[in-house]
Every structure is written in C-alpha cells, then in structure tokens.
Amino acid sequence: MSDKLINVKIDGKDYQFPSGIKILDACKRVGIEIPTLCYLEGVSEEGSCGMCVVEVKGSKTLQRTCITEIAEGMEITTNSPIVYDARKMNLELALAHHPLDCMTCDADGDCELQDLAYQFGIKKSEFLDEKEAFEYLKETPWDSNPFIQFDPQKCILCRRCVNACENQAIVEAIGIALRGYKSTVSTPFNLPLEETDCQFCAACVQACPVGALVEKPRVGKGKIFQLEETDTVCAYCGTGCEVTLYRDKKNDLVMTRGIEDSIVNKGSLCVKGRYGYEYVNSKDRLTKPLIKENGKFRETTWEEALEYTVKRLKEIKEKYGPDAIGVLGSSRCTNEDNYIVQKFARAVIGTNNVDNCARLCHASTIAGLGKALGAAAATNPIEDIKNADVMFVIGSNMTETHPVISQFVKENQKKRGAKLIVCDPRKTDLAKVSDIYIQHYPGTDVALLNGIMKIIIDKGLVNKEFVEAHTEGYEDFVKVISKYNLNTVSKITGVDRVLIEKTAEWYAKAPNATIFYTMGITQHSVGTDNVLSIANLALVTGHIGSEGNGIDPLRGQANVQGACDMGALPDVYTGYQKVIDPVAREKFEKAWRVKLPEKPGLAVSEFGDAALSGELKAIFAMGENPLMTEPDINHVREGFEKLEFLAVQEIFLSETAELADVVFPAAAAYEKEGTFTNTERRVQLLRPAREKPVGTKFDWEIISHVATKLGYHMKYKNAAEIMDEIATLTPSYAGIHHYRLEKGGIQWPCPKDDHAGTKILHYDGTFKRPNGKALISPVEYIEAKELPDKEYPIILTTGRILFHYHSGNETRRVKVLDAFVPRNYVEINKEDAEKLNINHKDMVRVSTRRGSIELEARISEKPKKGVVFISFHFREASANVLTNAALDPIAKIPEYKVAACKIEKI
C-alpha cells in the first residue's frame, strides 16, 4: 500500500482512498454496507459466496468487493437492482440445502445466513430441497471428539472454517474434499478429528457463520440473545488472550469467543481458553470458609475464620518473629491481589518471605535477563513476531504451552518464509515443522549455545559495532567460549555438528532474529546460566532492541509477569525495586507508614526445607498449590505438615488447601475486576464475567480483612484504587490506571499518564543497566545435578500438555478436557520401550530416588532415546513426586527438567 490516493466513484459520489485497499473496505469507510458471508477479514478472503458483488463500470461481470482492489477511476454501483437480484439469488442458492431448523439451532441469533435471509426477506429458498430442509440426511463422519460438533447439512461451504484452520490456527486439520456439488469440509480420509493434527482451538467454530460448527459443551446452553457477554482476559497461560465470555441466566459461563480485534490474540484461542472456563461453574467451588478441627474441616463464618487466622498469626509472630511466617502470592491472581499480598507480608507481617510460583518457572529469567539486560521481561511484543526472519526457539513446547503464540510463529514461517529453528530434547509439534531441529540432551543448553557462539565468533559473524557500543564483558566471554569447539559440544549435546553450524549462520546472518524460550531453559539448576547464555547470543549478534530482534521468554501463567512486577518476590518491591536498596525501602516505608524489613526473604522453593527445619512456622497462601507443583513433593509435604499454621485462599480444596488450618473461599479470575500483565508486559483489564459465588470474596479483600484485624488499616473501594496506589509507587506502572486500560492494554514501562507504553525494550541498544550497556557474561557448562546411572538409567523431564494446566485444579474440572485426557502418561521412545518390553498403553512404574508413581506408557516419537516425559497435572500420578529439588543457586528454581529415573512394567 502506498500513500497515493485513488479516485473512485461509488454510487455516484466521488471519493478518494489509499491505493491497495479492497472495494469492500472502501465502501465500509464511507458507510456503505455490503453484505458478506464467506469473508472474514485477514482470515478468509475466498470470494466464494457471491454476496458482496457490485457493478463496476466496464466489467461484464459483477465484481466481488472482498477480493477486488480499487483502481483509479473505478465507478462502482452497490445498490442497483442487478446487484440486489444477484445477491438475493446467491443467498437463495446458499439456502438451497440449509435445513430450516433455526428453532433448535444453537446459532440462532448468531447466524449470518439467518440475518441475511431476514434482510432479503427470504422465507424459503426457491431452490430449497424440502427433504434436506427438514430431515437429516448427511452423516458427520469426524464428529467423535468431545469438543467440536460438525453438522455438514448446515454447512454452506463458505470455507471460513478451513481458512481459519489454515491461516489462523496454522494447522490444516480440515480442508475441502471432493469437488463441485459433492465438495465438503472434511478431515483427511474422514478421520476422526482427534486422529488429525487438530489442536481443538475451535477457530473453525468461531469462524463459522452458521451453526454447522458448534462447541459441543455449548449445545443447548442457550441462544446468544439469552446470554450476557463480558470482555476479559483468558486466565490460563501468559499469552493473555482477550476473550469474550458468555454467561447464562443461572450465572454459569457457557461459551467463549476470542476477541477478533485484539492486538494480542487476533481472535485466536487455544483449547483451554476456548473450553476451560467451565471450572468456575463447578459444584466443587468453595463458598464457605473452612476451619480444621481434629483433622477435619468444618464450615464456618467469615468472622470466625478471620479471627482465628489473625489470632494464630499474631501468636506465631510474637513467639517466633515475623520471619517465621511465609506469604505466597499467585501468578493466577491479579496484579492488585499480588500487590496487596506483598504489602501484607512486608508492611503487616513484617517479613520479606513472600514469593509466588514464578519462582518455579521464570526465576531464572528474572535473575538472568535482569543481570544481562537490566530488565527481566520479554523484549518484544507478540505482534512483532511477524518481523523476525529467523525464529530461534529453545526449550519451548509452545504449541502446547502457548498455543496462540505458536500460531503466530508458524504463521510467520509459512507466510513470510521466516526460518524456524527449534532446539528441544523432545521432538515437539513445533520441532516437526521446523527448518532446523536440534535434539540436544536435557541440561546441555549452555554447551549448545556456547558452541553456536563459538562458530559465530570463528566465522566473524559477531556484530562488532553493537558489541562495542552497547555491551561490556565481551573479552572475558570470548576466553570461555574458545573452549567450546564443535567436537566437544557435539559430544556433550548429542547434536550433529552440521546443525550447530547451520544454526549459528542462520541466526547470526539473519536481518532480524528473535529468540523464544520457556521452561526448557529456566527449570534447571543452571537456569540462570542458560538465560545468560541466551542473552549472550542475542548480544553478540546484536539481535536485540528493535523490531524483529529480541528475547522473548514466554511466561507460563496468566499473571506470572504481573505477580513479579508487583513484588510478590522475596527481594524486590513493585517494579523490581530492591528491598536492600535503602532509597527504595524508604519510599515504601513512607507510603505504607511502617518500618520495613531489610533482609531478602525466602523463596517458595525454600519454604519446604525451612518448614522442615523449623525456621518457618506459618504460611499464608493466596492461591498456589505447592503440594502439586513443588519438586519432590513428598519432601515438601513433610515440611508443610510440620507447620504450626497454614492459611489458604482458594477456589477449590486443592492439595495444599487440604493441609490447611483455615481455608478462605475466593473469587476466580473470571469473576474479578483487576489486571493481568501478560508475557509481553501488556497490562490488561479483567472484567467480571459472572457474579462470584455467594460466600466468596476477592483475594485482595480477604487479605485486607486479615491485615486490618491485625491492626494495619487496609481498605480499598475496588481494584482500580489499588492500581492507582501501585502507580504512585512503581515507575514502570506510573501511567497505568484502570480507566486507561478500558481502551486496551498498555505495555510497561509506562511512566506517565499520557505515555502510550513501551512496545520494545532496550530500543536502539539502550539498556536499563547503570551505564546503559548490556552485560555479556562468561558462562561455563555445568552438568545437571542428577545424571542417569546404572540404577536410574533414564532421564526424566517434566512439563505441561496442551489439554491440562498446572496442578489440574481447573482443567480437570472441565468435563471435555478431562474426558479427552483423563489420566497421566509417560512418553517413551520406541527403542527404550522395546528394550524394557513395554507396549503402548501398558501400565508402568516410574521411580526416582525420591519416590515412584504408576501410570500409562505411551510410545511416542517425541522423546529422544534415553529420555522420558511426564506431565505434572495429575494428582493420581504426580510427576513432582519424582522431580529433583536441586536449586539454581541464584534463581532458586528447581531442576524440573532433569532427573534420573527408572521404569518398570507392572
């Protein structure tokens, strides 16, 4: 598109438009409505339905406005009888095979075909096949899954679903089969959807203009006009997809839609975002406070529960001092909740023992990127993915953990031809479509990255200008790197030299290159080293600080970025202002009107040991479920059992809540007002999509009550007021207020009320470190803490799967998700399985030095020989019984990704 204006006449009036736009767009701009059916902006531009046709002078046929660009001097007529008749005829044709069962159709009121029929006054198509209109004739051959219902008889073959699958989800599970009047939307060979590449994101459903594709759980739950809709943010991973939730008259959530003009997800959702809302409706929701007496819970009043908690906390604080109490914030709770939680710990209890589960996922990022770049967050926004020419993905199974981001990555590869490099010990779905796939051994990332950088240095591909102008520490770094010659690296990592060389060249030579990483990098005893290595790679090549160049750690939970930003960490206040910094401390002391502790507190990964040793006597947890998510949970449980007092705010009686002395029933994210900060630092507003259950309170509200009863006056009208307080104390959030977020999210740093936010960090190589330069650090490869041996010969690596989420408390209460993946399994390579005489779906026992679990074996091409994978979502076979609690010395993140195990058939 150029800036040149083009003269076009529409319905007799002269207009000017920028060149390159479609007639449809031009008409829209001047308020002329054109009916469409097959068109879905940016997703489906087929020009198949023939509804949007207009007359263009000089053309023998009518032109489709959705695919025809305007041209100089074009004369367009949109309202002639010829145009009207053609549109009406095409609509009658579309209705020829469409059943007339609007009365029982779930899309009634939400159907573009119905709207058009109404508009054109078509009661019954003159081509209507009476038999098909009232009788069901067509079979639905690929309909056996719990998620998506397909009714081919209602299908008008507009192809929006197929295009959504291809262009939005980048999956191509469905396509058009056969031809002409026989053509149909189909899976290959009519396979059931679950046997195709389908990810069940239901983009097809959202794209369907009629009721041919419907989410199964939504069937019969009410028509669109009976539902109330709310725009909010998805509460699962850190992508922060904007979502519209629909609730029925019973206050149950029944449907979701991705918000199409969202800058974050552009209408996409993943299977969890699409279907995972159901847990909030669950009968298992806690609605009354619980107090444990003689080992059993009894329901109680808020007053009693609060009094009891306050009494116990007071006693413990008086007896053992404030540092005997630990407080947990939560990445599943809002910024406002987390701000209150850390304020509670610091100002009310008087301890820095406050942390959140970010410790278990991206503590290494905070430590590593903080050290190297001066800011511990993703540098570039999600929408910037399209600017990268090389996408370097390491330790990220993003198609399962951040499905929507993976769509943009795949889209950039497919549509712009960007190169995709994937390094992962498991051959993930993304690895399968990658241009270079490196399958290195778990825990050898530093060696691999150093090897890549050695080649970059040897081949003279270092961006010397950038290194000189914007970094320090290069010389020391080179000394260390020189040891990592290809042979050594190839041996350590188990990767072909050619691949390492090619990766180095592609990445270094790319005009724009972005690195993406996730837990495969961070969850190691050398997590911080891994992150530093990644920073080194970006710095020596200068691939940072501009469009398409950056480092994007993908955050795992909806508000894991925010919980850290809010200072729910043992060593920093909001916005990473250090507790050991007297200036910062003084600022907070003044604002909170109390003396604050100076010493950094304990990390959540140290809570278990501290409880066991008696250092920690009480824990107050907002959300969080450490008894599922901590490594070596049997050990942690022992510690928690020794606690004198454990209070938990929860929506369900989680594994941790079961152990508590007091449980407070809390509101869920979809019931809250507040903000989440997503993986790209975008602070987004949550709006309550349903009434919170009677008897529950907001998390910040509960803590405020406890604080006030403890003698610290804490009272807020609403979350917006809390955010205003955050803004006054946090430079990077200074311009962020709820009223501004109404119009859309803002990326921090946002220092002023009129600041639009910051898209790209470290722009033009100005880093947030004292001298403005980034730090290149020498990093040596250190082996994982527990390596396979004779007794435990196999490497166990753990992580997330697409259909479940974390400790499973939410997703396992979503019927369709739990029905689809009802139990845990261990993924094992074919060769290993054969050696151990294990068949697909056999029950096996997996043991480590810490414990053992029994679960199903699945033979899979994903893990490398000698490596197995288990997800951690299932309490019946909890992977964290097995994991090693070895911590990274700086980030204190446990080594979830490497443990030695053995497998036996049972």
Partner: protein, 612 residues
C-alpha cells in the same frame, strides 16, 4: 519447482497400487516428504476424477458422457457395460477386474461413442462389441490401439501441415520438413524481433479469448525478475474438442518449437506443458519429442549454442475440466485443488508460483514456428483483418464427416459444415450447431452463414471458443442436450463459489424435473434468472458460461421446452409420447420402468428415458 509434482506423485502411487487407488498410508508419506498437510493432499486427491482414494478394479473403464458421445448413444453403451459387468457406474465388479466410471469428455468426439479402458481408447463403439471387448481385456489385458484422427487433405494448412504427413515420433522427419528453422531464425534475430514479428502477425490466442499473443509475450518479457515461466495449456477438455490432441499426436515438435521460441522471446527458463491425463498418446509423443529435442540441443542449458537455457516438463493432468482455465491450471501445477484465482493480477505479472508467466494454448504455440519461418507478412495473407491465420475446428455430432478441419479465419460456418463436413448426416435437416464448445454458443440455421472470425462472431454475441462444432439434426431433443450440458457442468464445477456450485446443480435439477414431466413454464424463467446470476457472479469462466447454451436453447427453442410441459399430466401420456417421469428399478434385473400414474413403460435405463 523442486522434485516431483503432487499430481505425479499421486499418479505414481495409484498406478503402482494393485487396487488402482491412493491409500491413506501413502498420502501420509507424501505429506511428510513434501510438507504439504494431509488434508491438502486429501483435498487434492479427491478433487481430480482420475484419482481414487477407494480401492478399484484392475481395469478402469471410463465411458465418455460428453455431448458428442451422448449424441452417439453413449447411454446404450453404458447400459450394455452395466449389464455385462453387472455393476453400475462407480462400482467395481465382484472379481475385482473392472471399475466402471464415467468421463466428462475423452476428446474422441469424432469416433463417438467412446470409452477408455485403462489408457487405451475405444471409439465408434457399438453395443454388440462390448461383451467381446470386456472378454478380451480380461484375458489379455488392455492393448495398445491408435486411432488416427481424420483430417482434411493438406491444402493451405498452416498448423496441420505436417500432421499425417510426417512420422510424429521422428524428429528427423520434423527437421526435414523445415522443422526448428524458426527457432534458429528467432535466435539469430533476438527476442525483441520475435515479439515484434508476433505483434505484426496479429496472432491471437486460440484458447478462446483471442488475446493478442505478441502483447501477452511483451508483458511477460517486460515483467521484472529473473524467474519466469512458460506454460503450454494442453488441458483440452471442452466437450466436442479434440484439435489440440491432433497436433500433439501428429506433430508434437511444432508445439515444442513454439514453446522454445516463446520462452526465448519472453525470457523464461522453465516451461511446462500441462496435458490432460486422458491423453495418454499425446503425453507419450510429447515426452518423446522433448527427449529428442533435448538430445538435439533444441532444449537444455545452451540452446543451439546461443547461451539461452530452457527446458520443458510435462505436467500430466488427473481429470478436471476447470483446470483448463489458466489460473486454475497454475494452481494445479502447484499442487493445489483445481480452483481458480482472482484476476487481476494476470499471469504475465503474477502467474505460476507468483512469478511472471506466459500461458498459451497448444494451437497458438503451433502457429508460432510458421509465423517465424515465413514471416508476419505471409501470415497476414491468411484469414481476414483482425483474425489472421487459420483456425482448427473439431467437427462432430450429426455430420457426415467428423474430424479436425483447418480453415482460414473468415470461412463461413455453412461452408465448414456443409462443404468440408459433408452436411448433416442422413440427409436430415439442421436444428442447430453448438459452436465453440458446450460453454459456447447455440447457433440456429439462420445464423449459419456467419463468417467465422473474431469480429463477425461478436455481431451475433459469439466467439470461436474452442473451435468445436457439434452439429444437431432436426430430430435432436434440445432439452435432452441441455440436460447433458447441465450434467457436465455440475460434474465439473470446482465447487469454490456458490453461484456455480449450487447453480449448476440447480440447473440440472430443474431440467431433470422438466424431463420427468413435472416442469412448469415458470421453471424456464427460473433458469433464465439463474443463468443471468451465474453469468454475472460466478468466480470464473466455468460458472459464467455454464448456462450459455441452456439459456440460449430456451430463447431459441422455447416451444421445444414447452412441449415438455404439455404432457405433464398422466392422462395425456401414452406410448407414442416419450415418458418424462423418473424411473424406478424393478426387481434385480436390468429392466427399467417409468411409472406415470396408471401407465408403466419400459425404458432404456434410469435417468435416460429417451433415445437422443
């Protein structure tokens, strides 16, 4: 393009498969190798009629249902085949020997009715031959048999001058008949000279639209970028048309030479010739010709020592009429379903794989060597202004002499049919001519004296189209012909756009209804309105032209349509008047009956109540 095309890969799988089909596991391998998703491979495989994803018999029988064969009593052949094999269309015999299929057109219109068993064509079929043919194929397999197409004697021929004269499989004979001289001349004089000569000759594309070839080449020559493609469109599929096949089978080097000259003029280094899968002999002859041309240095990295590199790949079609549309053809080469692209952009700027592309019809390219050899001035002595040169006509139907005729533009249609074609068969009177293919024009006897050239035809809202001439005598039922055409388009519509996908189907439904005797006069108005809508809003020329003949037949022979309305009450029906009702199968035999109220009539077969 890298590696084997998707079409070739699927052809290979299918021909290597005992049950003549493409199994799921093989598509998986292709999908993984080619990084094309399985759903795309499946969508592709199920689009083309020559591919099957279900097991079939050892031999595939394809019976031609084109209009020419329909007029040649193809229905009787089908019925006999069904009887002999004991299966219906689309089914496989119990012993797994034969699968009976129908084809939209085998391009054997002059020897109708026709069929193909595997790759072998059988023409001039009579019902009596069927049992013997089946028996023979079963015992001996399908054997080579070549039909030499009839062409008129070599006087004043330009394109066909060597067809039937030289051995098409001998490059030496081609060279001896002044072959590849044009190429030498072109290379001596340079690309711009070639384009100028072409422009001067005013050669117009023979694919139907008549766009000036020289200008088309010039666009591509001027288009930026090093990678350009040349495509020869040899996907001749218009029912009643077989003239491209005659050139390919009779003088393949003339096309190759035309392609090389075109590539030289426009700067293309890669060429494709897209030949429909049904034309096995054409494929083999072109393949041989390409190989010979290569070994003689006419193709390759350094053509005739000029430094100009060019080579040609054959792309074998797999059964689809719409692929003959140029953008659809390019989609098909790229390994996509045969669905048209939006135009503009046009191929000279955005063609194959998004690169500038020249795409010309076989006949157009075969015109190039004579123009270059003899010069544009010579060429302009043939034909009439704005329509220089000759045109090939495929003559079939109720005419005494059937075959390919080359005549200068401006020749009167009556001369072609009556003088060259020997007039209407059996001395009957002429009812009309379907001119330019079934997507062309229905001409009535009063339009018979029209000179056949671009400008004259425009005056009667017609064009040369594919150059096919299907002659109908006075006994032909116009409604039945309309039904055959409607069936063809319904079967061949790609299904992308609603007006065509459902429009062609509804046209068929309405005509069926009329033929069944339950039509109303208002149905004719519906056909006309629907036809208008399809013409105005179909995505590509297939849908835009599908209603042409049908609507024209209503306009020109309304009374013939109305006859069918008169007898739509059972009381008026008797044996003397043909039954128009739908048929019901009775018992297990091969007897068919139509029930019209109280009367039951024995019929030929379901859906074919009349003899044409």
């Amino acid at each position: 393009m890298k590696g084997k095309s998707l079409t070739d890969a699927l052809h290979d799988i299918q021909s290597g498969n005992k049950e003549n089909y493409i199994p799921e596991k093989d598509t998986l391998t292709i999908s993984e190798k080619s990084k094309v998703s399985l759903s795309k491979v499946y969508g592709f495989a199920t689009f083309y009629s020559m591919f099957s994803v279900k097991p079939r018999g050892k031999h595939i029988i394809r019976v031609c249902k084109s209009l020419s064969c329909h007029m040649g009593k193809a229905e009787e052949v089908i019925e006999k085949l069904e009887e002999v094999l004991g299966v219906e269309i689309g089914e496989t015999t119990e012993d797994g020997e034969f699968t009976l299929e129908e084809s939209s057109c085998l391009g054997m219109c002059s020897v109708s009715p026709a069929m193909m068993i595997d790759k072998i064509p059988f023409g001039n079929l009579t019902v009596d031959q069927i049992p013997e043919i089946i028996k023979k194929v079963k015992s001996e397999g399908s054997q080579e048999k070549i039909y030499t197409e009839q062409i008129l004697p070599a006087q004043g021929r330009v394109v066909l001058k060597s067809v039937g004269v030289i051995n098409p499989e001998s490059i030496d004979e081609y060279i001896a008949s002044r072959g590849y001289l044009a190429l030498k001349k072109a290379i001596e004089n340079g690309p711009q000279w070639v384009i100028n000569e072409l422009k001067k000759s005013e050669l117009r594309g023979r694919g139907g639209a008549g766009f000036p070839t020289g200008r088309k080449w010039e666009f591509t020559a001027k288009a930026p970028g090093p990678q350009k493609y040349l495509i020869c469109n040899a996907d001749e599929g218009e029912p009643g048309t077989f003239k491209d096949r005659v050139i390919m089978e009779g003088d393949p080097h003339s096309i190759i030479e035309g392609m090389i000259i075109a590539a030289f003029a426009t700067g293309c280094n890669n060429g494709y010739i897209y030949i429909r899968g049904e034309y096995d002999l054409s494929i083999r002859r072109i393949e041989k010709a390409i190989g010979d041309a290569r070994s003689h240095g006419f193709l390759g990295r350094n053509i005739l020592g000029s430094g100009f590199p060019f080579d040609i790949e054959i792309h074998k079609g797999a059964g689809s009429y719409v692929v003959g549309e140029e953008t659809t053809l390019m989609e098909s080469i790229e390994g996509h379903r045969g669905e048209p692209r939006k135009k503009p952009p046009y191929p000279p700027t955005f063609g194959l794989l998004g690169k500038p592309t020249v795409i010309n019809n076989v006949e157009t390219l075969a015109n190039v060597p004579p123009i270059i050899t003899n010069g544009a001035d010579w060429y302009r002595t043939i034909g009439v202004p704005e329509s220089y040169g000759t045109k090939l006509f495929s003559l079939s139907g109720d005419v005494n002499w059937k075959g390919v005729i080359e005549a200068p533009f401006g020749t009167r249609l009556s001369y072609i049919v009556n003088e060259l074609g020997g007039g209407v068969r059996n001395g009957k009177k002429l009812r009309g001519v379907i001119f330019g293919g079934v997507s062309g024009t229905l001409l009535t006897p009063d339009q018979f004296d029209i000179p056949v050239d671009f400008n004259s035809l425009v005056t009667i809202e017609a064009g040369p189209g594919s150059g096919s001439i299907i002659v109908m005598d006075e006994t032909r039922s116009i409604v039945n012909i309309a039904k055959n055409i409607a069936y063809f388009f319904k079967y061949e519509s790609c299904g992308k756009c609603t007006p065509c996908r459902i429009g062609t189907e509804q046209l068929m439904n309405i005509i069926d209804r009329i033929l069944e005797g339950s039509g109303k006069e208002s149905d004719l108005e519906v056909i006309e309105r629907l036809g208008q809508d399809m013409r105005l809003t179909s995505f590509c020329p297939l849908g835009q032209t599908a209603p042409n003949i049908i609507v024209q037949s209503i306009q020109k022979f309304r009374s013939k349509w109305l006859e069918h309305m008169k007898y739509n009450s059972p009381q008026k029906l008797d044996r003397g008047i043909r039954c128009m009702l739908g048929c019901q199968k009775q018992g297990g035999g091969k007897r068919w009956q139509a029930t019209c109220g109280r009367i039951t009539i024995q019929l030929l077969r379901p859906g074919w109540p009349w003899r044409p």
